[in-house]
């Protein structure tokens, strides 16, 4: 068992120049300075000490990714072929095709004779790469200071300038669990929680394993019916307007995007639990009848370490103030 270092022990391995690895030199100097910094609020900091968690440093990771897939001339502008049933998508990738019921080309060249919903794994994997790289860099810093875990993790993504460039940023407070063995493989655990919420989680019998996040991306190429319903140009053969109707293609795309995000997260969970999931869905219109639905799902992977032990029933109270 390797005893985690204490701030009193002086700089960690790597001498006075900071930790090993490919961390920036400034990060090495900061982490090796012998004092700690923390992103915790004062109440969370106090609760953290109460639990026997000693902050050893504010750790963070960044990654800047270019998004070239939506730009002009992109090879992915229209995804799969309409002529292979099911969209010709790779195995295991969501795809649905829709065909025009009006007799094909008889109207005009602009008539959308086919449409498609398709998952964009290249977008999803690029997002996972950006998030994963930032996360790995944060954990690398935590390892460098000998932390057992990282609490109070905060992550964000933002567009930089007008360049189709997204920055992933993730940071948290590295902590040492007083008196505990080193984590398996020296890999620190991570959680979005801190303070009293983390204490409640642990007391309830769950230990955080890691933060988890995934993005799903579904492209919608509208076929004629979808376009007409969405644009309000629905003339039926009788000459009247089509009645209120469900836009099946879009409804299915929305559900697919959310379900795919959940499945991506499940793929990282094993038999554990995702606690405190946050779901953010976004629809972007690229052109008429061309939409992208993206759904990001994040939360803390937790594992039960003791028997199911429900709390006594809560007592309702009325507060006089």
């Amino acid at each position: 068992m390797t005893a985690p270092p204490s701030p009193d022990d002086g700089p960690p391995d790597g001498g006075g120049t900071g930790p090993d690895g490919d961390l920036p030199e400034a990060a090495g100097r900061r982490l090796g300075s012998g004092s700690f910094s923390s992103g915790l609020t004062v109440p969370d900091f106090a609760a953290c000490l109460q639990m026997g968690l000693r902050p050893v440093g504010l750790v963070q990771g960044f990654c800047v990714m270019q998004w070239g897939w939506y730009g002009a001339g992109s090879p992915y502008m229209r995804g799969m072929t309409p002529f292979s049933f099911g969209g010709g998508a790779p195995r295991g990738v969501y795809s649905e095709s829709y065909s025009c019921p009006h007799g094909g080309f008889m109207y005009s060249n602009e008539h959308r004779i086919w449409g498609q919903n398709y998952q964009q794994p290249w977008v999803e994997s690029a997002w996972a790469q950006g998030f994963g790289s930032a996360y790995t860099r944060m954990v690398e810093e935590a390892r460098a200071v000998g932390a057992h875990g990282v609490i109070g993790v905060v992550d964000s993504t933002r567009l930089l300038a007008d360049m189709n460039v997204t920055e992933f940023h993730i940071l948290g407070t590295a902590v040492v669990v007083e008196g505990a063995a080193a984590p398996p493989g020296g890999e620190p655990w991570t959680t979005y929680l801190a303070g009293q919420r983390l204490a409640k989680l642990v007391e309830a019998g769950y230990m955080p394993i890691s933060v988890i996040a995934a993005l799903s991306s579904v492209r919608v190429w509208a076929y004629c019916i979808t376009e007409m319903l969405m644009e309000g140009t629905t003339l039926s053969f009788g000459g009247g307007y089509m009645p209120v109707s469900e836009v099946e293609q879009l409804s299915r795309a929305h559900i697919a995007a959310r379900s795919l995000a959940r499945e991506h997260v499940r793929g990282q969970l094993g038999n554990d639990t995702l606690q405190g999931a946050v779901i953010v869905a976004n629809t972007q219109s690229l052109a008429q009848g061309d939409e992208v639905i993206e759904c990001a799902l994040r939360g803390t992977r937790v594992r039960r370490f003791k028997d199911f032990d429900p709390l006594p029933p809560a007592r309702p109270t009325v507060r006089l103030s």
Partner: protein
């Protein structure tokens, strides 16, 4: 003397309670250490499949306290078209828009229920309702967490509720059960004033009865739709009703009103009173400064 006796009894009870609390207080440091050390060992009694939940820690613990657990995050979505030309001037209710709205909610709730059944949930709590009414379509998105009693058996028709897990727990303890999401929407035209009326009223402080009547009509029709949907589910009432109203962004002469809430039914023989304990805090209690034991 007789006045002092109850005070002494209360003080004794309070002391006994404090002693009992101290006896069962948990060493949170030891629990944290044990939890951290457990990472090297195999998972303890893992579930058969991964669980996902968007409930907070408090909500999960409250559910556990009544013997329920989260199963999975579930979704429902529906996009329903609104025929062209319905937002032009007219009179009365814009039934096509109202129907589109109500159909979109029903369809999204149905998808949500199907996903809940697929993971053997008994219902969905904390449903987040997002509705966008556009000129040509209504978009409805529902997101929540499927829940069920721990080791509970399958149930036929799951409920859908926008109540938080905290409110669900209170409702459960009081003997009531959520049945489903009751929803009602109504869109009406604000009738035109005649040219003469407009000219005559232009410099007066007067009630615009056309708008008043349109708002009245929209509210009444929306509430009626909501209550009808609750009665169709076999509910006795609706709790936590929320409303949204106002002129449409793209058609200011059309007034929209939507109302929704959780339809409930009494499951126990009679309502159970919870008898809340009155608490008088003696501190500023605005921050939780220390990690306190929950027992």
């Amino acid at each position: 003397m007789s006045d002092a006796r109850p005070a002494k009894t209360a003080a004794t009870a309070a002391a006994a309670k404090t002693a009992a609390t101290a006896a069962t207080a948990i060493d949170i440091r030891a629990v944290m250490r044990r939890a951290a050390d457990s990472l090297g060992a195999p998972a303890h009694d893992p579930p058969a499949r991964a669980v996902t939940s968007d409930l907070s820690v408090d909500e999960s613990l409250l559910l556990h306290s009544i013997g329920w657990e989260a199963v999975d995050v579930v979704f429902g979505a529906s996009v329903v078209s609104i025929p062209p030309m319905v937002w032009t001037w007219g009179s009365g209710e814009i039934t096509a828009a109202s129907d589109a709205h109500n159909q979109a909610v029903r369809s999204a709730a149905k998808h949500l229920g199907e996903q809940c059944s697929g993971v053997r949930g008994h219902g969905v709590v904390g449903v987040r309702v997002e509705v966008d009414v556009m000129r040509h379509h209504v978009d409805v998105e529902l997101t929540g967490t499927a829940v069920r009693p721990v080791r509970g058996k399958d149930r036929g028709s799951p409920f859908v509720s926008d109540l938080s897990a905290r409110d669900f727990t209170l409702l459960h303890n009081a003997g009531w059960a959520p049945i489903g999401l009751a929803f009602g929407a109504s869109f009406v035209y604000a009738p035109r004033r005649t040219m003469g009326t407009t000219m005559r009223q232009s410099s007066q402080n007067v009630e615009l009865t056309n708008y008043t009547e349109a708002m009245y009509a929209a509210r009444e029709a929306g509430m009626e739709h909501m209550q009808r949907s609750a009665l169709d589910m076999g509910a006795q009432g609706i709790v936590a009703v929320q409303v949204s109203e106002g002129p449409m962004v793209f058609a200011a002469h059309a007034i929209g009103f939507t109302a929704w809430g959780t339809a409930v039914r009494l499951e126990a023989e009679s309502h159970r009173y919870l008898h809340p304990e009155v608490v008088l805090p003696l501190d500023d209690a605005t921050v939780e400064f220390e990690a306190q034991s929950l027992r």
